[in-house]
Symmetry: C4
Subunit: 306 residues, 4 copies
């Protein structure tokens, strides 16, 4: 296939050992991606391009990061893949930390490059989610509801296109970006359309804006992450790191299963070397099984079929 | 191929036994998809993003549902695939029922999350297709004509991209969504651009709006469904469940053929087990035939060629 | 690969024997496609969606027609593929005729479904290219220049994505549509952005508008068709029907070569049966050659590799 | 696979011997592409379509040029691939020269086809980057910062989608174009969103505009090119022409390595014939290695495995 399509595994559910260079590079990707996404999305001021700049900036940075870090770029996405068993706890904590630091640096860039913007300027600063962007007459419950529905939409797209098999390959980043365009195109005038805790925390930290509503946004994002994971687990089953799944699939004890969910590393007895993760182990098992079936059928086996 | 592309069969013409978990999940998908699509599409109030939010929300929810339910999300699409022989009657009735319930819940969500909106508020409520959205001077016949042309466009895209072979794989949901953007971009100002009976019935049930014109929209959608199916049947032939096709292809009696079109299950003599549907049966036959041809040619056979 | 991608051959350079059912269906596709494209593109009246409706309506109808008629939908495209040797003369004449008839029916649909529009209403009718859409101060030479540059862009995209190998498969219809969006987004305010003789002739025939400038548009489209073909022939060589190519490649006499360019049928001695076209003949030769090379290398040959 | 997807190698990092016809054609492609891109992008005057026309015109011309010249269309991209070791020095100089000449001809076309535009009209001419497009209150440092961030985004997308393996195949031109849409959608009102030295130099040469700020734009583009290359080299390693890489990979001396980076031709001892470039040499080595491994495993080898 010549490497021109993202494997469904890679997008949103790929991870490497914490000590590997690839993982350091992944963290850097999440940092840079969220930083520039926050900068571009925060500085757009007109109504006509607001949803487009946010959605397209997200899409292009997911494309850029997809084959390295999986292109989460959103603590709600990372949190959801964590609880659903696709991402280990340690990795998730580091991702979320770097995403938030990225958003803070993005907001600092806004303060540096927009005339009249300056640190600690309070509500109304570029990119803030505060009372100046919340629609007239919207109650806090409605604000919460809007952000839940929109974030649920975005994370459902992530699961269906980038985690489920068969997914939608290299379409995934585009579709995730377009889901932000669609949500921001209507919800933008009611909530500003955050859909991402880092986008709330970054400007809050730099501009001291939206202190009184930030928790509503963030709780909504986390609830949506749980909802999307629940439905995906019902539809397609838990991820391979979830103790519910790994105890059944690999016959692990509860302690082993929880440890694997925390560290991402399968117990030593399943690994040929130190850096193998659960995907490698499952792939090895699948290959072994395929080989056995092929031998039973008496058919030739191809080393690198597609 | 690593599962990164939707098989043409899957989109819009895939179905499972009514009693299978997959089918229950499919119904859930249609319900959630239409609910959120209706919510996002109904709440957009400005002229600049109306067509985009509707088209992109449709596209992303078809992407999300495509590999599970086929991503119909529209009773006119389901009705068309039913009469063309791609979807069984029982399945279609349940799909259409869930799509309409989804649209009603979507309209309820609108009532809950938009300030000043409330149940039974009548014409002019968000998402309604009533005299307040119909263009000045447009006659009822012209309203009917516009909705026929636009819905015919949308369903033709569904057939050409998602049912015909070769189709356009993972492009299909995007192209269907863009066809709604194109139609709503011009027809929106004349009819509001429904193209979907559920989108008409949902708000009507919740807000009591558009009572006097709803039937025009719905009849137009059904006529467009028949037109698109007729042309597709002329171009590419009937679907495998159509009695015209199954009597010829499998040698069924008229009664057997009609029963299969109703239930989706081929007569027992074609099935190895209870849950096999017509696609499985035809695939088995095709595989058998391919194997025979290969043996004649004396060539090696690959178990899982791409 | 499961048929989910358009083969580059199919898009824009596929054709069948004039007497085949496929060819009749192709003509029907060109007719319906141009009709609805003209209708949707003519009725959009606001500046914000004009380029989008035109570009997306073109894209979705090329998607719909691509695997049947090749999705020309534009006499300038057909004319260019004719002179470049990708499409036979008889087929091209019939395509262009049906495209123009489609555009006329599209304009009639406009007259029927837009309040206040009526046949023979003259300049200013919806979808017309006349002095009411030509930008203030634009000379006839500048009008000509704009349409040449824009149409050249559109046809170059057709060649590079849909005729050249490797091309861009199922991206092609989208890219062609986006090229119309880009051109109409800037040139729309100067010329109305026709890029298609049928779009000029259809409204002219129905509404009697633009009589004094139609020839400028059409000549510009034809010149752009010649320019795009010239550059493509320089870059990638003539098409297989071009006498320059077929005399060299198949060793035909001048008379045989011209006859093949007119009818699309290779001389009898190259055909196994009556309906084989040049693509089939060349594919047969290529397969034969591949088989010979494989035998030389002593490698196994796969019947249906990918 | 039928040639319907761009190989990741082809886009942005493909090159041919300077003396080959393909290279002449590549230069022509870069010239025409930048010319029409400059023309379309310069003439769009309304705020609603500015970012779209620029981004989509870039996307479609990259699609058109991708399989021939690699679709650079931007001296900053060429410069970045040069210093990162993906493009030879001689080729890069000729590319950049033709891109600038293309932009000048594009600006001349603007002067010819826009009423009231004329050569040497100074600041405010269509397509100029001068004080009339720079946002009120923006300092020169902020102008520099904006162009660095935006150009860095565009070139990062080029690397991640079109140079890295696995990349995103035929999605690449679209994603690059959308990155320009996203950047211009917000940065357009501050800097005009050039992201491309040729787009600055072309109008400057023809209209004599922006003399006092052009150097800021161009230095920003070059810095962004270096930044994007540095990060890519850290993440994925240097390109095959970089002396750092070729000394290690092919065991070249420093002089040989530098000569190869300048000319693009590997030392004679690695070539079977005069026109082989580094990609051919590496592909030959990879094939050789694959063959040896297959023989060790005792598995059959396929000649043209997808």
């Amino acid at each position: 296939m010549g490497g021109h399509a993202v494997d469904s595994d890679t997008v949103f559910s790929n991870y490497q050992a914490v000590t590997s260079k690839t993982f350091v590079v992944s963290l850097m990707c999440e940092f840079i991606g969220v930083m520039v996404f926050t900068f571009l999305g925060s500085t757009v001021s007109d109504k006509v391009f607001g949803p487009w700049v946010n959605g397209l900036a997200l899409a292009i940075w997911i494309y850029t990061a997809a084959n390295i870090s999986g292109g989460h770029l959103n603590p709600a996405v990372t949190f959801s893949t964590l609880i659903c068993g696709f991402y280990p706890l340690i990795h998730s904590i580091l991702y979320i930390f770097l995403q938030i630091v990225g958003a803070i640096f993005g907001a600092l860039l806004v303060a540096a490059l927009i005339p009249d913007a300056h640190v600690s300027m309070g509500d109304g600063a570029p990119g803030c989610f505060d009372n100046t962007v919340i629609g007239k007459g919207l109650t806090h419950s409605q604000l919460f509801g809007w952000e839940v529905v929109m974030t649920f939409t975005l994370i459902s797209v992530v699961y269906a296109c980038g985690v489920a098999k068969p997914g939608h390959g290299s379409f995934t980043p585009l579709v995730v970006g377009l889901s932000l365009v669609a949500c921001a195109g209507t919800g933008g005038k009611w909530t500003g359309a955050a859909l991402n805790p880092a986008r709330v925390i970054g400007p809050l930290a730099v501009f001291k804006c939206g202190n009184n509503v930030a928790y509503i946004y963030i709780l909504a994002h986390l609830l949506a992450a749980v909802l999307a994971c629940s439905i995906f687990a019902f539809v397609s089953g838990w991820g391979p790191l979830s103790p519910f799944q790994s105890m059944k699939q690999l016959g692990l004890s509860w302690n082993e299963a929880v440890l694997m969910w925390i560290t991402g590393s399968p117990p030593k007895r399943f690994q040929d070397n130190d850096e193998q993760n659960i995907t490698d182990v499952l792939a090895k098992q699948a290959k072994q099984q395929e080989r056995e079936e092929a031998e039973e059928d008496g058919l030739p086996v191809h080393k690198d079929q597609a």
